[in-house]
């Protein structure tokens, strides 16, 4: 179906899942959500760059930083995609964190040769909006508009 067809149908796809704290699940979860985005004809470079990279970062942080790969802890993912935007929420069982104090600029000379510290930076650059909530754990909500980056 063409993008126009999708507009006519006012299609909305929601995905919910709960994954063990194991980084081997990341690639499959990303592929699932990529396919959901393609189903509503999300722009192709958003499907191949922005969404997989930002989602992969958020999942890696939830599994490694928040849940510390504890097999007793889970990561909850919810994505909602419609003609206007993608909203993904990732909930972990960690303490939460503060975006401003946790993120550094990896493009600065003193950081550019560091191996880590590019995750939150990429999430904020590749998504239109990042929000944090505390709700029985820590929720990271990422929003990507289908069209222009303006809100």
């Amino acid at each position: 179906m063409s993008a126009n067809y999708i507009d006519t149908l006012q299609l909305r796809l929601t995905l919910e899942l709960c994954a063990p704290s194991d980084i081997r699940f990341i690639e499959g979860i990303v592929a699932l959500i990529q396919r959901q985005c393609k189903e509503v004809s999300f722009p192709s470079s958003k499907c191949s760059l922005n969404i997989p990279v930002a989602l992969s970062e958020a999942l890696a942080n939830a599994i490694l930083r928040a849940n510390k790969e504890d097999p007793g802890k889970q990561v909850y993912v919810r994505s909602a995609i419609d003609n206007d935007r993608l909203v993904i929420e990732i909930r972990d069982e960690g303490p939460g964190f503060d975006l401003r104090t946790s993120m550094r600029d990896p493009t600065l000379d003193e950081n550019i040769t560091r191996e880590d510290g590019r995750g939150l930076f990429l999430m904020t650059r590749l998504m239109d909006r990042i929000e944090l909530f505390n709700n029985n754990g820590n929720v990271v909500r990422m929003t990507l508009n289908r069209h222009a980056e303006a809100e």
Binding site: E27, V53, S56, P106, I112, E115, G119, L126
Partner: protein, 110 residues
């Protein structure tokens, strides 16, 4: 995803097939470090068959590049598609790496 390694006129060429992400970056790192230990000094990573790269994947490229340089060697990258170019520009890693458009171009100038 997998990493295919072969030697092409003095250069160790690695093809990244699929994603380069937190789940498999250690495998790439180990494979390249093994070659470095064996005495290899010229490395080319070809991304023509790569999907996406996350920050852990980028991190591994940065640290490999450092280790190779410390041994007097060199790491080059080739065949970044538009998405990967955007990723390297966003993180300014395009200024850190020698990036060639094609594998041939990268091999020529080593």
């Amino acid at each position: 995803m997998s990493f295919a390694i072969k030697k092409q006129s003095e250069v160790v060429v690695v093809d990244v097939e699929g994603q380069l992400i937190v789940g498999n970056r250690q495998e790439l790192k180990q494979k390249v470090l093994d070659e470095l230990e064996r005495g290899e000094r010229k490395f080319l990573i070809d991304f023509s068959q790569t999907g996406y790269i996350d920050s852990s994947g980028l991190g591994v490229l940065v640290s490999l590049s450092k280790k190779i340089r410390e041994q007097g060697g060199e790491l080059r990258l080739a065949n970044l598609n538009e998405d990967l170019k955007t990723l390297f520009e966003l993180t300014k890693l395009d200024t850190l790496f020698q990036i060639a458009d094609t594998r041939e171009r990268a091999l020529e100038t080593f």
